[in-house]
């Protein structure tokens, strides 16, 4: 479980997050959604320590991450896996070396154990046998899956995914969404996904936080968001003609 208390953040005097409080639940896919530029990524980056919040604190299972020094944070970070928007694979390494890297860096596993764990993680994301490919030789979807394999290599307790579907076709997006949901349930981890993709919201949104103008605007799940009686959420959910059609049909049925 990750708890954020009263998180605020400014850049060059301009406030982008206004005292956000939220609990991200264990064993669930927690979504942070909202339009572009509303502070979703900033909140996630404050949570993992890439940005320092001006006010408030972040707790990973009652451990106050914000007050920790660099060395204490390093221990927590080894429990965090993160999938970046652009995958952020180390481009000088093969995909196998990318997955091996945290294991070699932070564990005392033998070479054989590391190889076994790497093969397992690549197999888990359906990339068995592709060990020696370089990131530049992989498609966007493959790169995302390698990113996930690297993120789960250390058996994380917390998984962060920053727009995991950006740049992917709808079918591959669903594969990635399902993978994230399955891993969350399988290992009972706290997963936080930043997205503005409504397909993802409807597919995996166990617990949703809607951010608008840097503030916590709404929370709920994928079922309740359809009926949320809120103009900002409505304009977000029913932004496309396709979703507007669905709304019209729902209203007809009602």
């Amino acid at each position: 479980m990750i708890t954020v208390n009263n998180i605020s953040k400014s850049f060059n005097g301009q406030k982008v997050l206004f005292g956000i409080d939220h609990v991200f639940e264990e064993g669930k896919v927690n979504l942070i959604i909202g339009q572009s530029g509303q502070g979703k990524s900033v909140l996630a980056k404050c949570m993992v320590g890439l940005y320092e919040p001006e006010e408030g604190e972040v707790q990973f299972d009652q451990r106050n991450f914000t007050k920790m020094d660099r060395f204490e944070r390093s221990n927590i970070r080894q429990e965090i896996g993160m999938l970046f928007q652009g995958s952020a694979l180390f481009d000088s390494m093969t995909i196998e070396q990318n997955v091996m890297f945290p294991l070699q860096m932070f564990t005392n596993m033998t070479k054989a154990e590391i190889q076994q764990r790497t093969d397992f993680c690549l197999d888990r994301v359906n990339l068995a046998g592709r060990n020696k490919l370089m990131p530049s030789e992989c498609s966007g979807g493959m790169q995302k899956r390698v990113g996930i394999a690297r993120a789960i290599a250390m058996n994380p307790r917390y998984l962060f995914c920053d727009e995991p579907n950006s740049g992917l076709d709808p079918k591959t997006s669903i594969v990635i969404d399902n993978l994230i949901r399955d891993l969350t349930q399988e290992y009972n981890i706290t997963t936080v996904v930043i997205t503005h993709d409504m397909n993802s919201v409807m597919e995996i949104g166990d617990h949703i936080l809607f951010i608008h103008q840097g503030k916590k605007w709404w929370q709920g799940d994928r079922h309740s968001i359809i009926h949320a009686n809120n103009p900002e959420i409505e304009s977000f959910v029913y932004a496309s003609a396709f979703m507007k059609d669905i709304r019209a049909q729902l209203q007809k049925k009602a």
Binding site: V48, R73, R77, Q78, G86, A88, L89, F101, M105
Partner: protein
């Protein structure tokens, strides 16, 4: 002025993190060996080419200016030796390396920054500055002196070859000139300068690369800025070290 002071402060803070204990020594040694190849061995061709031709030009220019019969014949060899050891090899080669290595380091680290690879290291709990920058600085400190000694030898060889081909002196007289008034302290001075310049080139380039914000255009700008700033730093450090080591 305030911005420059802020940047200098940020640079000092960066160095404090860079010079912390590596998370894994095995990774540090492996990275250092790779960096020696990348920023050291790969610079050998350009250093060789520059040194041989510059040595040849120094020798020919000196020979062409020697009109007074009062000057002994071996003066050409002596001047080639002293200009090479005191200034050409440590300073000019370092300025060339600031262009080649500095831009390479700044663009490599800058690209890692804008593609979130540095964030990925940080999220994993890796001290990214230490992991990425320390091996580069170590490689420069180990291999730049080797490059400069190699440059000195090739420069003097180039000078000899040019004089011999142009029939301006004999091998014996040139070697006599090279060995005349040789001061071993000049080698210490040259290598001290090289170590300082190597450190400045890699640390300044890493600084500009690490703190780049934006996209590929900004990486290009950071790379140019790294070359300009490290070249200026080399010139200032050259002046200070010369004052301290040769005149005090």
């Amino acid at each position: 002025m305030v911005k420059s002071l802020k940047q200098f402060g940020q640079y000092i803070l960066m160095l404090r993190v860079v010079f912390s204990r590596p998370d894994r020594w095995r990774f540090y040694w492996k990275q250092t060996i790779l960096e020696i190849e990348q920023i050291g061995i790969n610079s050998l061709p350009i250093v060789a080419l520059m040194s041989a031709f510059m040595g040849a030009v120094i020798a020919l220019q000196t020979a062409s200016s020697m009109e007074s019969p009062l000057l002994p014949d071996y003066t050409v060899g002596f001047i080639t030796q002293s200009s090479t050891i005191l200034e050409f090899s440590p300073t000019i080669i370092s300025l060339i390396l600031a262009g080649k290595v500095g831009s390479n380091v700044a663009s490599e680290i800058g690209t890692m920054r804008v593609t979130e690879q540095i964030d990925a290291y940080e999220i994993m709990g890796v001290n990214s500055l230490n992991f990425l920058v320390l091996p580069k600085i170590s490689a420069a400190l180990v291999f730049f002196p080797v490059l400069v000694i190699f440059s000195m030898a090739l420069s003097m060889f180039g000078g000899w070859l040019a004089l011999l081909v142009s029939d301006l002196t004999t091998t014996e007289i040139y070697i006599l000139g090279v060995r005349s008034f040789f001061n071993p302290f000049h080698i210490t001075y040259a290598l001290t300068k090289t170590l300082v310049f190597g450190f400045l080139i890699v640390s300044i380039a890493s600084f500009y690369g690490y703190y780049v914000k934006g996209g590929s255009l900004d990486v290009g700008r950071a790379s140019t800025q790294a070359v300009v700033s490290s070249s200026i730093a080399i010139l200032i450090a050259n002046f200070i070290l010369t004052q301290l080591m040769l005149l005090s």
